[in-house]
């Protein structure tokens, strides 16, 4: 079975990637300035309490030992506890010492899983928007290179790529939420809260998709099996929809695997602007608060998603073009 061999190989490779990411993140977080133990117990805590906490958390062990301990926990699905976030969900100020909720920190994995569905929803909707915008423009441009449709696709792409997401987010929130009152834009209380941020993300992704589609459709249309198809008696509709788009979608799929990074970067900014309680907002807050276990957990989790989606992308590409089965 090709699928089995492929999956085994790719998942093994994925674990290696994950291990390296974990190692890099872990080490980098240990060498930046700042004492986690003091962070946990509060800036004003007496030194002996800080020392005790450090001992408790194993922060005095050499970094490799700490890393192995962490890996051991990770394998069991334990990403550790947040330094700062209590289970109740409230964020505490970091400098007070005697905070009663401090002893009861939230699990990193729980925090992530709680936010993940919202971010997946945001990403999914934005991909749908993106395809809705990019497909007609890209395909039309690719079918008639040099025509006004091609120029329209190019123009739209240039326009989208030069609009920064934070700017567009603010402008849209102003126009659509404040002035027109059509859609909500701050926080999350239902699906309608996803639409505006997803649209901003879609605009950010669209230029790449438009460009790739235009180029690959134009290229496929030059191929002999397309130029010869009308002579064989195929209708223009089938030529474009059954053959050209099918062949052009392979570079597009690969692009998606790569553009995932852009999408995630966009998620950080857009969630922050719209105060959308997803993984991005969680990341920004945990970075600002130096919540090391949480940053670590999110980074590893996201690289896991990366690996997973790229496996799916390659599988899908192989399903479309069996020549890729190597």
């Amino acid at each position: 079975m090709f699928i089995l061999g492929f999956l085994t190989r790719r998942i093994l490779q994925g674990f290696i990637v994950l291990f390296l990411v974990t190692f890099a993140i872990f080490t980098l977080l240990r060498v930046v300035p700042g004492d986690p133990a003091r962070l946990i117990v509060g800036g004003m805590a007496p030194d002996n309490v800080v020392a005790q906490k450090a001992e408790e958390l194993g922060l005095n062990d050499p970094i490799p030992v700490q890393f192995i301990t962490y890996l051991g926990q990770l394998v069991q699905g334990d990403m550790g506890n947040s330094f700062l976030r209590p289970k109740s969900g409230a964020i505490v100020g970091a400098s007070e010492y005697d905070d009663p909720t401090r002893g009861n920190r939230a699990q990193v994995l729980d925090l992530i899983l709680e936010r993940l569905p919202l971010t997946l929803q945001l990403a999914g909707v934005s991909i749908v928007f993106c395809l809705l915008i990019a497909f007609p423009l890209g395909v039309a441009g690719g079918l008639r290179p040099g025509s006004w449709m091609d120029r329209l696709a190019f123009f739209a792409g240039s326009l989208f790529v030069s609009m920064p997401n934070f700017w567009l987010g603010i402008v849209l929130a102003m126009l659509i939420s404040v002035k027109m009152g059509l859609l909500p834009s701050i926080g999350y209380k239902g699906f309608s809260y996803t639409i505006l941020p997803a649209f901003v993300l879609a605009i950010e992704l669209a230029p790449f998709v438009i460009r790739t589609l235009t180029v690959s459709i134009a290229q496929v249309m030059q191929e002999e099996f397309i130029t010869i198809a009308p002579i064989r008696g195929l209708t223009p509709f089938r030529i474009v929809f059954a053959h050209a788009i099918r062949n052009a979608s392979i570079p597009l799929l690969n692009l998606f695997g790569i553009q995932l990074g852009t999408l995630l970067g966009g998620v950080l900014v857009v969630e922050y602007i719209f105060d959308y309680p997803g993984l991005g907002l969680l990341t920004i807050n945990s970075v600002l608060q130096r919540d090391f276990p949480l940053i670590q957990g999110i980074a590893i989790f996201i690289s896991g998603i990366f690996v997973f989606i790229n496996i799916i992308v390659d599988l899908a590409a192989t399903a479309i073009d069996p020549r890729l089965e190597y």
Binding site: M1, F2, L4, G5, T8, R9, E223, E224, F225, T227, I228, P230, I231, R232, G233, L234, T235, P236, R238, A242, H243, R246, N247, I320, D321, P322, R323, E325, Y326
Partner: protein
Amino acid sequence: MTDKKLLRVDGLSVDVVKGTMVTPVLSDISFSLNTGHVLGVIGEAGSGKTVLSRALVNGLGPPLEISSGQVIYKGRNILDLSQRELRLIRGKEIGYIGANPMGSLDPTMAIGEQIVEKLRSVRPDMSAVAAKERVLDVLASVHIPSPEARFHEFPFQFSGGMMQRVMIVDALVTDPTFLVADNITQALDVTVAAQIIRLIEELRLKFNTAIVFVSSSLPVVSSLADEILVLHEGKIVEHSTPHELINQPRHDYTKSLLARLPRIWGDDVKQLAENNGDVVLSVRDVAKTYVVRKRGTFNDHNYVQAVRGVSFDIHEGENFGIVGESGCGKSTLTRLLAWLETPDAGTIRFQGFDLAELTKAELVTMRSSFQLLLQDPYNALPSRMPVGRIIAESLYIHDGGSKEEIRRKVLSAMEEVGLPKDLENSLTVGLSAGQRQRVCIARALVLEPKLLILDETLSALDQVEQAQLLELFALLQEKYRFTYVFISHDMAMVRKVCNRIAVMYLGKIVELAGNSILFENPQHPYSKALLSAVPTLDDHPFQAEEYLLDGEPPSPVDIPQGCTFMTRCPARMKICGSREPDLNITVGRAQSACFRATEMGDEVPHQLK
């Protein structure tokens, strides 16, 4: 009168339009065609024959424009039809087969699915089940083995010859009354091309289809056509029957075309003697097997036995030919001879030194004495380097002396291969294929090699350039006593230049003989099959009806037991299934790996019968 004709072309002219520049490609083409007849169109590269065949199906796109003329099919001008009217006849009544079968279908879909798609596009009334049945029927009728399984395979899983059959099915599945075949044998091996020609002949008798058969090979066209058009620079220069065309050519161009055809058989063919110089290259029991992961498995491997124990000697100053169909292992053998890859078993000795025993430094020095020239002169040269620098490159590697000395050597090599001096500082962009090949030759020449290995070096060139380079090779050989190894599938070229020829089949040499023995009295049935497929106007001693084989060689993964040729051999015996024959000595110094060879050995040569 006109109604009786299925197709009539009147004063057809086509131009290339680029901005305001208008260059005529075809001018004033007129002919007509009856049901069941075959019209051959012959022309060189650039004569406009592909444009003509596309114009006949109204399949031209920018920058090509039809400036005047009509293509009347069944009383209607095809060129005037709307796209919708065109769709009712094109693909249905009019079939078209192109020169590039591998690129003619969507690479991401199974071939059967695509033919069904086509069939149902032109005949929407047909059910999917009926269409599939029809496709399977036609697949079987063009001798594609196990059509049910192949129906679900993708284009890349087919060989060129099989794919061309698929395209023939694609055209015939709708029972067309008129078929345009545009150079359909060009990309194929001779034996496969001969099979395809035979197939077209068969189909024409069976379905009474009118065919326009376009080709660059006069022998191929004349074997098939009822009438022939000779196309030269976009004009018809001659129109007659094959017999008349060959025996009484009227136009000068036709005469020169006939004169340039390589002669293969006949009393006036120049006989090349074998020569017995010192042994330059000695190959003993060389074998190479590639391990390839099996498709659809995780850790299972196929062993592709590309070369399976090959031995021969090449003498100084001789031209040694290696021929065979694609997949017979000749390219792998080339790579072994050039020591780009090392053999798994056996030895290759060059001027007495075992190449496997040399140190890296010694090998680099030794390499300057044997040089490889490849088929594709476009990919063989870096595009951002001036010609002079490209040629000097090998001297830098092999320490060719001071700067001035290198420049002097480069310039003299350029002069020798016939490149003008002022090309020294220009890039390769504007050079023709022939000039590029000359750059490659100069690059090898500056090292003063002893042996040149030519892997299909002349295949990509047209007849005129090919002849000029062969002259150059002969000149260099006279001057420096070069030894050449020609690896080729072009039997006519091999006949013209090689002293001795090895015929390869499935990784082994099945026959090794001098030029005249191989061409006039070959012993191995495969050599005969190969020769029978060579298109020629000469009196053919090996008639295709008798010697041409069906099918394709077995895969080098599953090599048959006993004699590997047995699966296709018309004269197999009991012993062939159990033992693989060696290269036995038969006539004179010819060797043949066939059990029948010895018993037929003293037969008189074919020509003398």
